[in-house]
């Protein structure tokens, strides 16, 4: 079993322009990690290689979210998910993930997942943190099925899937959105 550090409760501030990138096999074992990954997580590359990605799993994270994520990418569907990760020091950082799914060109079977992660915007964390806390509480008192049901109900009320819900939350608003759109047109 993976020995994980004890959480300190301290948040690591991420550079919003940088991506934390890793590539794993279908079981989640790390094959590659980029420089920013090692910088933020505090693990060096040799420590990470061959290790299951859940070495970074923060105990505050509800299992339901990982189930949702794995179910999605295993069925060849990219998913935008918000995750609280645990660094080697015990500090944590909030990220939004995005996946590339690599398949064997001959058999079509999934071979690898490449995950790109960026700093989760504050306003996203503000909504997600209490939601995850509730899910985690339900899991601790009942089980993952109950928390999954709660999540489904929560999203139904908003009339959105999880993926869409996160994208809506992360969407730039106001001046930032206008600037972003204008700049995009330049390229």
């Amino acid at each position: 079993m993976t020995q994980r550090p004890t959480p300190t409760g301290k948040e690591i501030r991420l550079d919003s322009k940088k991506h934390i990138v890793s590539k794993t096999d279908t079981k989640g074992n790390i094959l590659y990690a980029n420089d920013y990954f090692t910088e933020v997580s505090g693990y060096n590359k040799s420590e990470l290689i061959g290790t299951p990605h859940n070495i970074l799993r923060h105990p505050d994270m509800p299992k339901a979210i990982f189930k949702l994520m794995w179910d999605s990418i295993k069925s060849n569907q990219n998913i935008t998910a918000v995750v609280k990760n645990l660094a080697k020091s015990g500090d944590h950082y909030w990220i939004v993930t995005d996946f590339d799914i690599q398949k064997d060109p001959n058999t079509g079977a999934i071979k690898n997942y490449i995950a790109y992660r960026q700093a989760a915007p504050k306003k996203v964390v503000a909504v997600i943190e209490p939601l995850y806390k509730t899910l985690k509480e339900i899991e601790d008192k009942h089980d993952i099925e109950a928390s999954f049901e709660y999540l489904t109900g929560y999203l139904q009320e908003k009339n959105m899937g999880y993926h869409q819900f996160i994208e809506e939350l992360a969407k730039p608003t106001g001046m930032a959105a206008m600037f972003f759109e204008a700049m995009k047109k330049l390229f």
Partner: protein, 187 residues
């Protein structure tokens, strides 16, 4: 396989840019001929080079991964480009962008020779490649050659480039430093 190589001095020498730095080997990597500038650069006498294995020039900093990719490609009769750190007779080294062509027997179509042409590389390309090679080498040493190959593929996947595209980019690397590319990185 038992080649006695010089001890590296850490001193870098420059590859001449206006001269043909060429070497030709047989199908197993034994040197058949070399241009005068290649001989001079190596520090060996021509007679010492001919019939020696080309790996006489292999610098210990070079990851095995790169040569594995090289030979997999050449044995299939396909040309390849790569960036190499070579060791001279006195232990100095030079970096070269190397382009290798495959020559086949006109009648039997069997692979006869490999011909390598070398050109100098831009400093910033050399630095980023040296860092990458150091990382691959470390992964190879702490884990395995397979882990090193996986690491390189992950590095390329992160850039969403195939090996050949990456090499092409490195070859043209000097132009990628403008304001526009920096601005693009923001998005």
């Amino acid at each position: 396989m038992n080649i006695l190589r010089p001890v590296p001095t850490g001193v870098e020498i420059k590859l001449p840019s206006e001269r043909l730095v060429m070497s030709k080997t047989d199908a197993t990597g034994g040197i058949v001929s070399a241009s005068q500038s290649f001989v001079e650069l190596s520090g060996y006498k021509e007679g010492e080079l001919i019939t020696s294995s080309h790996s006489l020039l292999k610098h210990p900093d070079m990851p095995k991964t790169i040569f594995k990719i090289l030979w997999d490609r050449l044995n299939r009769g396909l040309p390849i480009k790569l960036i190499v750190k070579n060791l001279t007779k006195c232990g100095n080294h030079y970096w070269a962008f190397t382009s290798i062509e495959v020559k086949r027997d006109r009648d039997t179509k069997e692979i006869r020779n490999f011909i390598a042409y070398r050109t100098p590389i831009a400093n910033h390309v050399k630095e980023s490649i040296a860092t990458l090679y150091r990382q691959i080498k470390e992964v190879e040493e702490k884990h395995s050659l397979e882990a090193g190959i996986n690491f390189l593929h992950g590095y390329l996947d992160e850039k969403r480039l195939g090996y050949d595209d990456f090499m092409e980019k490195m070859e043209n690397g000097a132009n990628e430093k403008g304001f526009l590319s920096k601005l693009k990185n923001i998005f």
